[in-house]
């Protein structure tokens, strides 16, 4: 998995790993619990996790920056008393001059200690530029991309393996030819509405997350140039391709976001009935969901479906919240929330996409008769008896016999005897 | 396909039909309006699907730009006789041409009228249900689908004269009004003739019944044969013009009114020397003129069924309600009453088609549900003889014939005339 830029492994890796994880935790905790950070004096030590390690710098910078405003150009003007060329307008980003500008070590020290400034692509006044951004960037690149990729590829591998070992799950005893209604039209529309938007959001989101590392780093730098020895200019081409894809994906992702919220809300309401956990679910878990053989009883939804529903509800809520937050950055004054939001948003997305892959597999080509419930709204009686016997009994008022289960016939004969 | 069927099918396609076939976006809304779909939930009863053979013939032979579509191999295959036979059930058994689908259609497509045109091709190829073929034979022999002869009519007239004590003028030249009836009325509820006698007598109008043209039922319209429909309309028109009447009174019968009032002049290719008036229209006019004073009102909890061809497709929406307001004191509308009311399930020749009976009874179930939703209804006024027949069959099959009475509007008005004691019901 080449989602990580080439880097020689060193002994420090372990240390760096710990530091990154701690940073990530700090970011999340901070976003979750810390009061909104005001654009005030740097001595508020808003650096949190790293304020202690930088106390000396903080103390030094405290005097130097005293009396300056917090916007970057002003701060820069004060530092070293050196004039800084400004770009047109009020963007507030200094151009890099011969003496350096934005990379001024003092400035970075100041920022590290909690000084605040307006970043180059400011979407809201008063947003911070802070050193945590660098940690955020590295957490995103080194851990999120790597492990996110592992999760998604792993899920695909599990599905392929499952297919190879278990094959398509056929209806025991075949189709009966008699159907019973399972999902109303409004259920089906709610489901497919969310599914369609989910696919659009998922694809565009994956491009935003993995586009550059996959296309430029992996395909370009590693494979085409590194292994196949192609001209390095191919990397530039791939970068352009990526920038087009990224622009498209970002616009699409932003536009479909609110539609996703709507579709998600409809789905949550429409499918809530029957999705609360029941006693039968515990037994279902003990029997491994019947995937390993045997029969696991369930109501309208089994434990797996219920878990999936609540994942969609809870993670989906998180996705909607963090997503809207990213879409409307002016909702917050503090950049750290956005950093946390991007990480949470991506983690949630990877989880949802991974489980959705399994859901889609079992719901379509993985299990005979499942897709009927969402295409026609009806399922075969034998399918219902096998997978949702308690629901079958509720709906039809008939007893679900398990004559088709492995060993079911004998069990029944015993029961009769 | 037989040449006759295809030629007839293509002959039906004018700009209106073409607009309908072109505008359909397959939105499926019409299914929600069709009582056959509602009763069975079978997607094949989606109204627009019933037009499929016509759509294919249109696309292949008439549609603009079909040449370019053909270059890409996008023309549908020719409609075969087997296709027509496959669709026969949909065209005859499961469409009462009630036109409710037109109301829900975002494109306003008149599917009922288009089915009527499709039936022309079926009739030309002689692909039709046996029940309707039988009715057609009866008409050709006796001029009435139920085989009602002039002799039988005269017997009923004499009987009604005895019941009411009034003279019923027969074949009288120079009368103002000539009444025609549905065979169902003459055979199954002849007291309606007596009711006419009392109403005309009270209003002081001169009227007559003709022994040459007493039958309003038009099998030609039901089976879809313009030549037959024309023949049946012509008989009434010729007789009315011979007698020199000013009005022909169309009875409480759905399609009969449309057949002579709206289709008639077009079938004959000329306008008439008299005016066609529906009995409900006439009654309401007389009511407005104060010529039908009401005595005791009927106190039962009643509702009104809107026969499709009279209300939705005939335009007589307010008239029956005006009359009911005068004649009963406890009138309740059903949900969806008026123009969007549900069909009884047996119009458009379906009730004359024994093969379709089970489906018809199922569709009537939707009507019954609608009536039961109001609750506590004792009688339902049904101003259409064919609907009344369906109601009676349907209530019997649903085991409800004991608690719901089906009454004719004309009968109700006649019974409630001031100072008239209703005659004892005949055995």
């Amino acid at each position: 998995m080449a989602t990580v830029p080439n880097r020689r492994a060193t002994d420090e890796d372990g240390m760096i790993f710990m530091r990154r994880v701690l940073t990530l935790l700090a970011l999340l905790l901070w976003a979750g619990g810390a009061p909104a950070q005001n654009a005030t004096a740097p001595d508020t030590a808003a650096g949190g996790a790293r304020a202690t390690t930088l106390e000396d710098i903080l103390a030094r910078q405290k005097n130097r920056l005293k009396g300056t405003t917090q916007r970057l150009p002003d701060a820069l003007r004060e530092i070293e008393g050196r004039p800084v060329p400004l770009p047109d307008g009020d963007a507030g980003v200094p151009q890099l001059g011969t003496l350096g500008g934005a990379s001024d070590p003092d400035l970075w020290r100041a920022l590290k200690s909690g000084a605040q400034a307006t970043p180059s692509s400011s979407t809201a006044r008063g947003q911070l530029m802070q050193v945590l951004g660098e940690d955020w960037r590295l957490v995103r690149r080194q851990y999120l991309l790597r492990y996110g990729g592992y999760v998604l590829l792993g899920m695909a591998a599990i599905i392929v393996l499952f297919r190879l070992i278990r094959g398509k799950i056929a209806i025991r005893g075949g189709r009966s030819g008699r159907t019973i209604p399972r999902f109303s039209l409004s259920h089906r529309i709610a489901h497919w509405f969310l599914a369609s938007v989910f696919i659009l959001m998922g694809l565009s989101g994956l491009i935003i997350l993995f586009g550059r590392p996959l296309l430029v780093e992996f395909l370009g730098r590693d494979l085409l140039v590194g292994r196949m020895g192609m001209d390095p200019s191919v990397i530039d081409t791939l970068k352009s391709v990526n920038s087009v894809l990224l622009s498209a994906s970002l616009q699409g992702h932003n536009l479909f976001g609110p539609v996703f919220v709507l579709a998600w809300a409809i789905m949550v309401v429409r499918f809530m009935k029957g999705n609360f956990f029941q006693w039968a679910d515990a037994k279902w878990i003990l029997k491994g969901g019947g995937l390993l053989g045997g029969h696991a009883s369930s109501h309208h939804y089994n434990f797996g479906e219920k878990t999936w529903y609540w994942m969609v509800v809870l993670i989906g809520l998180g996705m909607c919240a963090t997503g809207l937050f990213l879409l409307f950055p002016m909702l917050s004054q503090t950049l750290v929330y956005h950093q946390a939001a991007t990480l949470l948003h991506a983690i949630g997305a990877v989880l949802l996409i991974a489980v959705a892959m399994g859901h889609a597999y079992v719901g379509s080509i993985g299990m005979e008769g499942s897709i009927d419930s969402m295409l026609r709204g009806e399922v075969d009686e034998n399918w219902a008896k096998e997978h949702h016997d308690l629901w079958y009994e509720e709906v039809t008022g008939k007893k679900a016999d398990h004559a088709n289960d492995p060993g079911g016939a004998e069990a029944q004969a015993e029961g009769a005897a | 396909m037989t040449d006759a069927a295809l030629t007839t099918l293509l002959d039906q396609m004018d700009a209106d039909i073409a607009s309908y076939l072109e505008a359909c976006v397959h939105c499926g809304e019409c299914a929600e309006a069709c009582h056959f779909y509602l009763a069975t939930k079978d997607p094949k009863y989606t109204p627009t699907w019933k037009l499929q053979p016509l759509v294919r013939a249109y696309r292949r032979h008439k549609a603009p730009l079909r040449g370019i579509r053909g270059m890409f191999g996008l023309l549908p295959p020719e409609v075969t006789e087997d296709d027509l036979r496959d669709w026969e059930e949909l065209v005859y058994d499961s469409c009462t041409m009630c036109g409710r689908c037109t109301l829900v259609c975002p494109m306003g497509i008149d599917i009922a009228g288009t089915i009527r045109k499709m039936r022309e091709a079926y009739a030309a190829a002689d692909i039709a249900p046996d029940g309707l073929k039988q009715a057609r034979e009866n008409v050709e022999k006796t001029s009435s689908p139920m085989g009602v002869t002039a002799k039988a009519l005269l017997a009923q007239v004499r009987h009604q004269e005895e019941e009411t004590g009034l003279k019923i003028p027969v074949d009288r030249e120079g009368a103002d009004y000539m009444a025609i009836f549905s065979s169902h009325e003459i055979m199954a509820s002849p007291e309606i003739i007596g009711a006419y006698a009392r109403i005309f007598d009270r209003a002081g109008l001169s009227w007559t019944i003709s022994t040459k043209a007493y039958e309003a039922t038009n099998v030609g319209v039901q089976i879809g044969s313009a030549p037959l429909a024309k023949k049946l309309v012509r008989r009434v028109v010729d007789e009315a013009e011979r007698l020199g009447v000013k009005y022909v009174v169309s009875p409480e019968c759905g399609h009969a009114y449309g057949a002579i009032r709206w289709a008639g002049p077009n079938l004959l290719g000329r306008s008439f020397g008299f005016e066609v008036i529906h009995i409900i229209e006439l009654l309401d006019r007389l009511r407005a003129e104060g010529k039908l004073p009401v005595g005791d009102k009927d106190g039962r909890r009643m509702t009104l069924h809107d026969p499709c061809q009279i209300v939705r497709r005939g335009g007589l929406l307010k008239e029956p309600r005006n009359l009911l307001e005068g004649a009963c004191s406890n009138f309740v509308e059903m949900k969806g009453a008026g123009i969007a009311n549900l069909c009884c399930g047996g119009g458009g020749g379906v009730s004359a088609n024994p093969r379709a009976e089970e489906l018809m009874i199922a569709a009537f179930g939707e009507k019954l549900k609608q009536i039961d939703e109001i609750g506590g209804i004792e009688a339902v006024v049904v101003p259409c003889a064919n609907c009344r027949g369906v109601f009676e069959d349907g209530l019997f099959e649903h085991d409800r014939d004991e608690d719901l009475e089906v009454i004719s509007l004309g009968q109700l008005v006649a019974d409630r005339l001031a100072g008239d004691a209703p005659p004892k019901p005949s055995e």
Partner: protein, 213 residues
């Protein structure tokens, strides 16, 4: 000539010509079939009925709306959304102005985005219903799906090009627009024009009967 220049130049002219000529040809072809004069004495005006029928069918009857409200919401959202974003989006107005010289007030960007959200939500609901409802599965054909997908892709590529930073994305959008224009007159997308004929025909018949369902 770049690809984009071709797609916005010669190709667009050709596509638009096919669209315009084809659509006019088809409508004229329908009207040309003619109808026999109605000899039955009218109770009301056919012409008034024609207009009334056209207006009446814009609004569903409550009785039916109760049953199919999801479909109705989807239909309204899609059609109104599409209309607004087609006619009032600033990039579209700029495009029209290039050819016609006409210009009008554009919606603010958020309004245009909102219209697009409605249109997308509506179109997806309509399409999703098409494949998950037995009635719709029965009556739908390839043309229905092709029309839905083409329209969706035109809208999607339009929204992907929102940043207006890459010619490739604009070209993709324009290419699909051209395809859509060419497909239009041969397909059921023509309902955008034929709806008036169908509603009018029924409206006129009922108008003569002195009523209007």
């Amino acid at each position: 000539m770049t690809v984009l220049q071709f797609l916005e130049g010669p190709m667009f002219y050709a596509a638009f010509a096919i669209f315009a000529v084809g659509a006019i040809w088809r409508v004229a072809g329908i009207v040309r079939l003619g109808r026999k004069p109605d000899l039955a004495p009218p109770k009301g005006s056919a012409a008034a009925g024609w207009f009334k029928g056209n207006l009446r069918h814009f609004v569903p009857r409550g009785l039916f709306a109760e049953r199919t409200w999801m479909h109705l919401l989807g239909g309204y959202a899609f059609h109104l959304g599409l209309f607004v974003l087609l006619v009032f989006a600033a990039p579209h107005i700029a495009f029209f102005e290039r050819f016609t010289g006409l210009s009008w007030t554009a919606l603010p960007r958020w309004g245009f985005i909102l219209a697009a959200e409605f249109a997308f939500a509506g179109l997806i609901v309509l399409w999703v219903r098409r494949f998950s409802d037995p009635v719709m599965r029965q009556i739908s054909d390839r043309d229905d799906h092709a029309g839905s997908w083409l329209t969706f892709l035109v809208m999607l590529t339009g929204c992907l090009a929102l940043e207006e930073a890459h010619d490739a994305l604009r070209a993709l959008h324009m290419g699909l627009v051209n395809l859509w224009l060419i497909y239009f007159p041969f397909s059921r997308l023509m309902h955008a024009f034929t709806f008036a004929l169908a509603r009018g025909a029924t409206g006129a018949v009922y108008g003569r009967k002195g009523m209007n369902p």
